[in-house]
Subunit: 243 residues, 2 copies
Amino acid sequence: MLIVEYDGTCYHGWQRQQNAVTVQEVLEKALQVIMKEDIAVTGCSRTDAGVHARGFVCNFFTHTNIPADRVPYALNSVLPDDVVILSCHHMQEDFHARYHARSKKYRYRIINRTFPSPFEKHYACHFPYALDVDKMIKATKFLEGQHDFRAFMATGSMVKDTVRNIFEVSITQNNAEIRIDITGDGFLYNMVRIIAGTLIYVGIGKIGVSDISEIIACKDRKKAGITAPPQGLYLMEVRYGDE
Amino acid sequence: MLIVEYDGTCYHGWQRQQNAVTVQEVLEKALQVIMKEDIAVTGCSRTDAGVHARGFVCNFFTHTNIPADRVPYALNSVLPDDVVILSCHHMQEDFHARYHARSKKYRYRIINRTFPSPFEKHYACHFPYALDVDKMIKATKFLEGQHDFRAFMATGSMVKDTVRNIFEVSITQNNAEIRIDITGDGFLYNMVRIIAGTLIYVGIGKIGVSDISEIIACKDRKKAGITAPPQGLYLMEVRYGDE
């Protein structure tokens, strides 16, 4: 199992695609170079184009005799600078990075000030109008818990079971930066970005704090806020088993 | 007077040069477009290629009738994304961004972990070996105060008066990130980067904490540490008058 950090700016997401470079593809090519075998990697989730990861998890089978603790050095020596292997661990043969995930933590970063930051164009969502962060924090309480989050799923997604359990939503502010941290047992397609967009609407008063419960109940994507742009989103951590 | 934030990655520093793009040049071109007159800008300091600024100050004369508070909107509409005007203020006619500066604050960012961060290649210095931050903090006390900092000036610099007053050096650590914040009445060429490199040497035990006083006293550049790379350096704030 690998823990991978990547800057998603130049990638069309994690998952292999024809005619577009993805993180999975560059990682599988690096594994081929280092381990001299064709290796298919299983990722913990699909991330969209432009989305970043601080602790993406993936797994694969290999016959290599390179010790696990040397694998990050070997892979990082051939990977591009924007994909970094943080660590490598032997797992039981039935380990599956997606199916066995118990919880995932995402972060959404907003730069809330009049002018965009020259440093954050690809790393946060710039929002120029005043946000009432206290209201946003109050709204998070209505998101926590087990709910049918159909209203927070991208239209067109084919997933049938739309019930998810959000363990915690926390919002912290540091000067112009607002961070929304969301931990849950799983997320629907675009769910974190729609939650971020809905909390932004709460912050400008376009959606009321207590409207969140009604939006969840109505299961109508059109009642929730915008899908916030991908560059603000980071997959922070995935947990397995009893960690 | 403008307060400017810029990502220095793509620039050969602040100051106009032949055959290389600088921040001064793109700013003067933007002023020409907006104010319809040739404007020469005076910067608070020269920054090197790859060095960043969060609060660079510069001044200029203009006959424009655009109100000062609208100038940032106008300039930002024509400037590239990596140069952002934060604010604009009318000043007395004799104001000079460099000569009248009373204090400058710089930050040096180090990412101290085994592998580089995919997000920080152009925004911090990666240092892979363990740093004893407590020792680095102790060493800062020997730097504070008024000293002849000739040992911390790039070889070849022609400045005669090498006495500077460092008001404060503080070091903070947040996970892998180490920040060195230095405020002083002025800085010699490469002084902050040589201080950062010297503190890194203290952190790995190559220079002792109390050696700092001797290095200052000997005025020999060769006794201080390396010049830390430019991408970790940020000009944070410049103060004038009795602020």
